[in-house]
């Protein structure tokens, strides 16, 4: 046998082995749902994790990857390395023309404008410096909408990513007015409620985090999508009835076991306050939420078109409808 033939055979065998491995990976990927989370698993994402676990009990295998940033999680769905993502993909759907579809609203934008006591009302903030999470972010959009309603204009805008970092900046006196999420608003108020207070915000709330997938995956895995959304909707309804269910389920399933007791002790408190504040929509979003989001994210500068956009270009309402039928109501 000539050396060329041997080389050729060796190469062919290698390619075949590689092909088989690749085929096996693809086959495996289809029965395991790959979930991309834009953050580490924490109190905020615990409810989502419980819904996933419940779906797993009913036969939905999943593997979860935590990404450092939400954009990376979205990119992993765009690139096809993951099936289900959590984040805010409106601008990506509009601008990259990737057929991603939202199937469930996980949380709404519940944010609290926290200002130093020298500012008593929104009017006092006219022309004053204000700090947001980032340019074009949800917090800035909330700020813009409030400013437009109150007829004021903020002075210099600065950007500090992370509510926790803005709490430190507030406590240090570096900034005097910003917008915080629920958990960090509570931390700040515990430490310095004599120096800061919360200003009122508009009632209607746009989506903060939504669950989404590619249209292709949804078309090929309808049953898995329906199952997941059904479990999400079920838990979201239970949560609104009884927020303590999250902690009960967590303890029963021993989730977040690596977290310290102080963090775990706050779970029920977080979900109680969250459901009261409307953080978790018991209807899972849907058409009404989509219209609100179109308006909100257009004002935020993330998308264009406002309420003239078509819901079916952004949402796949199928799984949510199926879940409502299965659960009733």
């Amino acid at each position: 046998m000539s050396i060329h033939m041997r080389l050729g055979r060796g190469l062919a065998a290698g390619l075949m082995a590689a092909g088989l491995t690749l085929g096996a990976t693809i086959a495996k990927a289809q029965d395991t749902v790959r979930v991309a989370l834009g953050d580490v698993v924490s109190t905020e994402t615990l409810a989502f994790l419980i819904a996933l676990e419940r779906a797993k009990d009913r036969g939905l295998n999943y593997e979860m990857t935590s990404f450092a940033e939400e954009e990376l999680a979205i990119q992993s769905i765009v690139g096809g390395q993951a099936d289900i993502g959590v984040g805010t993909p409106y601008s990506v759907i509009q601008k990259t023309k990737v057929p991603l579809r939202i199937i469930f609203q996980m949380s709404t934008l519940v944010f609290y404008p926290v200002v130093a006591n020298e500012y008593q009302s929104w009017q006092d903030l006219n022309g004053q410096p204000f700090t947001f999470h980032g340019r074009g972010s949800g917090t800035e959009a909330i700020g813009n909408i409030i400013a437009a309603r109150e007829g004021i204009e903020f002075g210099e805008r600065s950007y500090v990513p992370g509510s926790d970092n803005r709490v430190i900046a507030l406590l240090n006196g570096t900034i005097k007015a910003t917008i915080l999420d629920l958990a960090n608003k509570n931390i700040l108020m515990e430490q310095a409620d004599d120096r800061f207070h919360v200003l009122p915000t508009p009632e209607e709330k746009a989506s903060d985090e939504v669950v989404f997938a590619s249209q292709a995956w949804l078309d090929n895995n309808r049953e898995q999508a329906n199952l997941l959304v059904e479990e999400l909707l079920k838990l979201w309804r239970e949560m609104n009835e009884n927020p303590a269910i999250v902690e009960e389920e967590r303890a029963a399933r021993n989730l977040l076991a690596d977290q310290p007791q102080e963090i775990l002790a706050e779970v029920t408190g977080f979900y109680t306050e969250g459901t009261e504040a409307g953080l978790f929509d018991p209807n899972g979003g849907g058409e009404a939420a989509a219209m609100l989001d179109f308006d909100f994210y257009t004002q935020a500068g993330q998308i264009e078109g406002g309420t003239s956009l078509m819901v079916e270009d952004y949402w796949d309402l199928g799984p949510l409808e199926a879940a409502k039928q299965a659960l009733g109501g």
């Binding site: 990119q75 765009v78 601008s91 990259t96 990737v98 340019r135 950007y159 500090v160 570096t174 993330q302």
Partner: protein
């Protein structure tokens, strides 16, 4: 200005002169060895500038092709990126962003250059200085900076100080360690020659050690500046988004990928041009013998 060693001013004849007079100068010494006239077409294709433009063209074509495939729906073509770049130039957002990014960068690089070269040379000349300083800079060079940034933020806040410090931490170790190695590797025979001509310590340092060390010191400066650029962008991405870092994060968050890549490309091009300028300054101002050979 440092007096250069006299042996360097004597040039070999022949080929070098040829390279200076031919319209497309070839790689000096090789031509000198072959010693035969090069064909103008071959000279054109062998010219460094032609090769550089060609390699850039190949890169841009590959980019365009990858964008058209597309390798990811989020990856824009070269053409789209150029349109994004132009729109950011036209609305002045790019220039404003550079104005902001260059502040910590310029301050950090000036500090790193002045202090870094001084410390590096001191370490090279003095054993005690070496023992004192080298562990700090070796650790600083090996440390994963991105992981240290939260620590810097706790200590220095989120303003200009923290960002300048990140630039310094990135740039200074490279400059210090290269200056140190450069001084340490001065040919001993040159130093001994100086001593045998009864040169004072000061004369040996100024006329022998520093001129001999300058090529590697400048190499360290170029590497340090490149690292400083990385530090400036890292600081803007990880501390607070300002300047070019803001353009990158903002356009990523609203999925304007062509503009995001245009911002990244602009800082890379700027960095390359800046390092090229340092090399030119080095050749024209500090190292006449290298200029003569070009």
């Amino acid at each position: 200005m440092v007096e250069r060693p006299s042996h360097l001013s004597a040039e070999p004849a022949g080929g070098l002169r040829l390279s200076r007079f031919s319209s497309f100068g070839t790689f000096g010494t090789r031509a000198a060895l072959i010693d035969r006239p090069t064909h103008p077409v071959a000279a054109f294709f062998n010219h460094p500038l032609t090769l550089r433009i060609l390699s850039a063209l190949v890169l841009f074509l590959a980019w365009e092709w990858a964008g058209r495939l597309p390798i990811s729906p989020a990856f824009p073509t070269f053409g789209e990126t150029m349109v994004g770049l132009w729109s950011m130039i036209a609305d002045f957002s790019l220039i404003r962003a550079f104005g902001i990014t260059l502040q910590p960068l310029a301050i950090g690089l000036v500090i790193s250059t002045l202090i870094g070269v001084a410390i590096g040379v001191a370490m090279g000349l003095n054993d005690k200085a070496e023992w004192l300083a080298s562990p700090i800079f070796i650790i600083a060079q090996a440390a994963p900076l991105a992981a240290l940034i939260p620590l810097i933020v706790f200590a220095y806040g989120i303003g200009l100080t923290a960002k300048t410090l990140v630039v310094c931490i990135m740039a200074m170790p490279v400059i210090v360690l290269n200056s140190f190695a450069a001084v340490r590797h001065t040919p001993l025979s040159l130093v001994e020659m100086g001593r045998s001509f009864l040169a004072s310590r000061r004369q040996v340092i100024l006329r022998i050690i520093l001129p001999a060390a300058s090529p590697v010191i400048f190499a360290g400066l170029r590497l340090g500046c490149a690292a400083g650029f990385i530090g400036a962008i890292l600081a803007e991405l990880l501390i607070t988004p300002t300047g070019i870092g803001d353009l990158i994060t903002y356009h990523r968050s609203i999925a304007e990928y062509p503009k995001m890549y245009a911002a990244i490309l602009s800082i890379i091009v700027f960095s390359v041009l800046f390092i090229e300028v340092i090399e030119r300054v080095e050749v024209t101002v500090f190292r006449p013998e290298k200029r003569a050979r070009r």
